[in-house]
Symmetry: C2
Subunit: 335 residues, 2 copies
DNA sequence: AATGATGATGGAATCGTTTCCATGAGCACT
DNA sequence: AGTGCTCATGGAAACGATTCCATCATCATT
């Protein structure tokens, strides 16, 4: 069926043509020391033969496969798509392949995925973590090079130490939220709701903190990862609490759900309800009315995380990227 | 710094504990023949030691690394994000890791990426191809297992044969376009424009064909992959041809650009201009006015493509998935 | 001149798996 | 009893790189 084909060019061929040993070729090609003359001969031979080192051989020897793994909850969500894009673009400049896995914000799936990566001897992971600290702690202790992006796992119990060591690139939810809430209170709003997705602990915590006395725990609701669940959460909140005058959606899917639910229930934005959404997606401007948003540097988060995991130099504990309130037309004064 | 740690459990350890040779262990674990008793002993030993085969060793021996590569123009585009999601979800059920690369619809970057994959000895690629046939033909001849998704490369010259053999999963642009154009002509439109992105040859060809006598070549315009370019193309078209009464956007980024440009230029949709967009994204419904779209089964395209490349059974040449016109409010009668 | 330090070099081991091949046992048939 | 067949089995050879280690040359220092 398939012809034997031309044998792959190996380091041995290069060594032979250059009249040196394989060890020397390896050294030259990976930047080790060698005399100028030898170096030239080797390089010559390599180009003449169009030699491409096999990642397979290298990987086995080094007991680690190259490349980076990236775990996100949902690649279909514009925010994570941009985050991926950032990672991809950084990894590209290092010529490192990126393996992507979708966790669906589910601890079990995440653990599964990580298991697969372990089997592949992947030792660099960028993750938007969903699972419990237990699992991540064990991964870190196994010597894997982990960087968290967008959120980190809560240090719990005995693993606190291990997990606090893990670098993370986050967007500064708190400051964005603060600006947003100040903006809303400035417009007279007092009953402000928050639409969250499970796993958004950090963001919710920031909301609670910034709201301070104004906080009404009954106004923060959680949805699962699906669109339907987001819609249900939004619709439920709107119906349950007629006194609600403003709401902050914790992500673009939540925002979408809020707009839809509002429309369905004849709640007019911004007349009856002011809406601010986390994450500035292209359609926020196309929406009717154009949505006021807290813009997040999704792509930068990914890029920086990739840098952290790839450069591997001195590692700052955690970096926090600024968010920005972009005012459009979805907020109005309290009526 | 790092402790030597417990040595990895290898097949040799299992063999020793089970009192058999490594060859036997390998056979048992990969479903070869062995006596019932031996099989049990091996399986026992493996679980007792919590043995995980190393993908590295296997890969080197088999001269191919597992997993699938996926090349898309832009992961930030909702359509391709869904396509990725489909691939990911299929690959998951085969426990195969997926490596994603972004081509930016650029032949050179694509070739670069493919080079990287070659180096990794990846031999299964799902691609939304951007590059020339030359390159893909050589990849296919090198024995790689390629499946095209969303579009295929045009068979040119001597490579026609090779490339026609490559399976592809496409969405049936033609039928969707036909319905859309019939819908528009039914509303009285005659001057119908098409906003395309470079590389959308197939879709443009379908447009030309379906339009037949109505086709005005001056009304089909091309943009590059960026948002800005899409906006420029749309705005340019709207300004240049005041007699335009309807336009079809070849993708969601083009549609977005069209809405924005129209708004900017005080072109009212659907009063002054009817708009139909390829791809039903969540925000199409949130847009003002809600957009009439040609829905594409992006996720299915990805899923089927992954199936094709992974199952590798008898391979149908090409499969075409249906598209559907979803009428909302962005089209009106010609004025 | 003897000694030591430095640097370039190549042979060989190593990584963990799959697979080729030879061996030997068991069995049926002549 | 001898022959041939089918199995299960294990040793050993790949796969292609990196890297340890020993060797040797060169040069400076005492």
């Amino acid at each position: 069926m398939s012809t034997p084909g031309p044998r792959r060019i190996t380091i041995k061929d290069v060594a032979e043509l250059a009249g040196v040993g394989v060890a020397t070729v390896s050294r030259v090609l990976s930047g080790g020391s060698a005399s100028a003359e030898t170096r030239e001969r080797v390089l010559d031979a390599a180009t003449k033969l169009d030699y491409r080192p096999s990642a397979l051989g290298r990987n086995l020897r080094q007991q680690r496969s190259g490349g980076v793994a990236l775990l996100v909850p949902d690649i279909t969500d514009g925010f994570y798509a941009r985050l991926c894009d950032g990672v991809l673009s950084c990894a590209r400049s290092y010529r490192e392949p990126v393996t992507i896995g979708v966790t669906g914000d589910d601890a079990e799936q995440e653990a599964d995925l990580v298991g697969g990566l372990l089997e592949q001897s992947m030792d660099r992971i960028i993750a938007v973590p969903s699972g419990d600290g237990e699992m991540w702690a064990s991964v870190v202790r196994a010597g894997l090079n982990v960087v968290f992006a967008d959120r980190r796992v809560w240090s719990a119990g005995q693993h606190a130490r291990t997990l606090d060591e893990v670098p993370a690139v986050l967007s500064d939810d708190r400051s964005g939220l603060r600006t947003a809430i100040e903006y809303l209170t400035g417009l007279g709003h007092r009953k402000i709701g928050f639409l969250a997705r499970q796993g958004m602990n950090q963001r919710v915590a920031a909301f609670r903190e910034v709201m301070g006395d104004l906080l009404d725990e009954d106004l923060v609701v959680f949805a699962r990862a699906s669109r339907d669940s987001a819609y249900a959460a939004a619709a439920g909140l709107f119906q349950r609490r007629a006194d609600l005058t403003a709401v902050i959606a914790g992500g673009n899917m939540l925002g979408e759900a809020a707009v839809l639910a509002a429309r369905e229930l004849y709640v007019r934005i911004p007349r009856d309800l002011s809406l601010i959404m986390f994450d500035d997606v292209p359609w926020a401007e196309l929406c009717s009315p154009p949505l006021t948003v807290i813009a997040q540097p999704a792509s930068d988060v990914g890029y920086r995380a990739a840098e952290l995991v790839l450069r591997h130099g001195r590692r700052p504990r955690t970096v926090s990227l600024p968010t920005e309130l972009i005012v459009r037309s979805s907020c109005g004064p309290r009526r």
